[in-house]
Symmetry: C2
Subunit: 481 residues, 2 copies
């Protein structure tokens, strides 16, 4: 195997998805491991993308009246235990601080897996009457959930970054109405910046958040045929308010418990974006999230070198708003440079050789399609701008095609399994019995409900896919990541 | 005591600084406590200021070529122990995770008190030759140091927010040259946005960072007469590189260890800023960091109410860039509103009553001085803009006066103690003996060296303030926070 090949990705995305992903992480310098098992380093490239994502999302949050806030990352065990379902859901994954300095602590402190317990115990001091509502708080922070499965960068790590939003309202109606605002903002950033279309859907009771009345999420289809949950919204009703005693005086002068929501998006979206857009050559990222949108590679020969170098310097300057990389290394061949920058996901490459110079043009290569276009230098800035928009749209359209093609429906378990094996999700009729939901995995390993199909209504005649009893709703089933 | 007074601060800053500060924190809604002892909540108001500070600092970092990155917050005990002085300095304050899920961990994990150990253990994979240098990485994150003293919001809490910069260079010269860049950026943001002037100075060997060759910091004088350390820069030489085996091939083809720096600024700067500018009425913050720069209070009488309300709505719209608050509450008197917004530190208040309306003017009140100015509505936007700049400058100038007036020099221990009791810091001649540095606290409780006086050179005749032996340098002594 030549050195050049070893630098590139050696596995095909279609043939061995998980090996391909691991190579992409390391070789495109997105993540690496440390001696802390199950945690990763967010390398500068991926961290910069997360920062942009946070910036854009946060801008919408602020515009919507949400306030950022900082809470301690430690939660005393007794506080975490106040809401019964919540604690059951999280305790198996909690990392505990038991010693500090050289002393044993009198009570274990959880490293936050999520901050409901610490925030909600404080809220009674912040809320007195309906005048203090709605209270819409948000945290951008790090949380820890001690997974025992193999770590996968961005998708499954013991520590990850996210936002956690926590809002309190004076009425159920107001609280529920926040779902469209929140999921709308998430979807806007994920589709406009990450070029990722989603399907929005309610979780079944079995799959909802520990402590919530209902959970609604945005779902994405990975090229491996597994469905992944992205941004989520949970309506908690008065469950936490009762556990943590968060009361207020309503506009009739009566005491009531607040109505709460929680909502989140995590660095898992980075993994989702990397897998959906990237290919066998390496990373592909949407231009809007690429820090460096262009690489300029001069083709150098001894006689014309100085002229070509002078011109690429000029081009670099004129394209400054795209933060271009100019690669003038002389000990690396153009071909190897092409491979390297393709691996690293620079959206556009500009090649300039002596012949191009004569024609006063350059060759521009699109990272996502490999398409080569000759463009006059005089109109380069305008054309680059257009091309970046085109790439952004093409990535979205492709992801959308993958998503739409993956959505099937069936009333037959054999056909359903065939679809799922073929990397689809399937809308099927089911009863609401937890036993049937549990029973899916006996029909096919890993098969489970994804979200309720809100487009299809039950006529009354459909039978549950599992028990053949009366079906109560259509629900998408498939495999998850 | 009337209800109005209880809402305001009841203690004078001059008379009981620490009580005053605690009241400021709670009543201006900057921080509050939770059931996790020693940690605080950064309430929306203070968190927003930190976000702005981070944004401005980060902009300069990025311009200077520094890359942000994310590392795990857990550090295995064996890794932390690699650099001997470093571990000695931090272990007494470390919080340890010893259990996760329901399992005991085979090795204790430190919650990062700082990230040298986890970053430097990874760097050998990132650095091969001088082509990979300089490598300038930065993290904005949360760290934990388990203080056993009483917590003071922003100044002393077990968890705090900060940046930690870690850079590696190919030569000592390059590494040392980074100090001016880094401390320059910190000073720019602290002086231009926080309106806080500083004195830059090297720490004595005894006071330097655990593991560093030298430490250089920016120092601020608090109104209590205590000196506080702000942003800091540590030149680590090859100390960590040798402990963590961070080698590279230099441009002569030889193997060498990298030369490293670390640098940081923390949320302690918020406390510094709050105490220096605020007063007996409550919070004062520099306009550049105030989210809401103006509050508009209409003076309402039955006959003229609708006219006045219409006008303040217009004014609010025209001043939108200052993010004004319009306080139209009718169940709260103007006087109480004035007190409330002064407590909360809104830089400018606009009052509009029927008489002002007749004169087509408003009364504008400066939060920092209480000065009242009548301004024509037609030129309001322009004048507000000027006034905000004036306030920003006045805050800086006042802080600078406090700082400059607090810097004394003396060769006599009695006079030195008198100065320090009078809230000053004093440049004194000393030998470099650690015993003499230790001995300062026997002369006066809490007396210690602050930083080396770089302006004054030893003539050879000066005697050490403590042992009367030959003095080797002038060094500032005083009390610290």
């Amino acid at each position: 195997m030549s050195k050049q090949n070893q630098e590139g990705i050696t596995v095909k995305k279609d043939e061995n998805f998980s090996e391909w992903y691991q190579e992409l992480m390391i070789k495109a310098k997105l993540a690496c491991y440390t001696k802390v098992s199950g945690c990763i380093v967010f390398m500068p490239k991926s961290y910069a993308i997360w920062e942009k994502f946070v910036f854009e999302t946060d801008k919408l949050f602020k515009k919507s009246g949400i306030q950022n806030v900082g809470f301690p990352m430690f939660i005393p065990e007794s506080l975490l235990s106040k809401e019964e379902e919540h604690v059951k859901g999280f305790v198996p994954e909690v990392a505990w601080v038991t010693e500090a300095g050289n002393k044993k602590l009198s009570e274990r402190l959880a490293v936050r897996p999520t901050s409901e317990a610490i925030i909600y115990d404080t809220l009674p001091n912040w809320i007195r009457s309906y005048n203090d509502l709605p209270l819409r708080l948000n945290l951008w922070n790090n949380v820890v959930r001690w997974e025992f499965k193999n770590p996968v960068p961005f998708f499954r790590t013991r520590e990850f970054l996210w936002n956690e939003g926590h809002s309190a309202f004076a009425s159920e109606k107001d609280a529920r109405a926040e779902a469209d605002d929140i999921l709308g903002m998430y979807d806007k950033v994920c589709s406009e910046f990450m070029a990722l279309p989603s399907v929005r859907g309610f979780k079944t009771d079995k799959e909802k958040f520990a402590g919530a009345v209902y959970s609604e999420k945005l779902h994405y289809m990975l090229p491996s045929g597994r469905v992944i949950e992205g941004p989520c919204f949970h309506y908690d009703g008065q469950n936490f308010a009762k556990a943590y005693d968060i009361k207020f005086i309503n506009n009739k002068g009566e005491e009531d418990y607040v109505y709460q929501n929680t909502w989140a998006v995590s660095t898992r979206m980075l993994g989702t974006m990397f897998t959906i857009h990237s290919d066998d050559k390496g990373l592909v990222i949407p231009p809007k999230l690429a820090n460096e949108k262009i690489v300029i590679v001069p083709i150098l020969f001894d006689e014309t070198k100085s002229k070509v170098l002078k011109k690429v310097e000029e081009i670099k300057k004129s394209l400054k708003i795209f933060n271009p990389i100019l690669d003038v290394r002389e000990d690396v061949s153009p071909g190897r440079k092409f491979n390297e920058w393709e691996l690293k996901g620079i959206p556009l490459r500009i090649e300039l050789g002596p012949k191009d110079l004569e024609k006063k043009s350059v060759v521009v290569v699109k990272r996502n399609t490999g398409e080569k276009i000759s463009i006059k230098i005089a109109s380069l800035k305008k054309e680059i701008s257009k091309l970046l928009k085109t790439i952004q749209k093409e990535l979205y359209d492709n992801a959308n095609k993958l998503l739409k093609n993956s959505m099937k429906s069936s009333k037959d378990i054999k056909e359903t399994i065939k679809f799922v094996k073929d990397k689809k999700m399937v809308s099927v009729p089911m009863c609401k019995g937890e036993k049937c939901e549990e029973g899916l995995k006996d029909k096919m390993p890993g098969l489970k409900t994804l979200f309720i199909d809100s487009e299809k209504k039950i006529s009354g005649k459909e039978k549950c896919l599992v028990c053949s009893g009366k079906a109560e709703y259509f629900v998408y089933v498939g495999r998850t990541y």
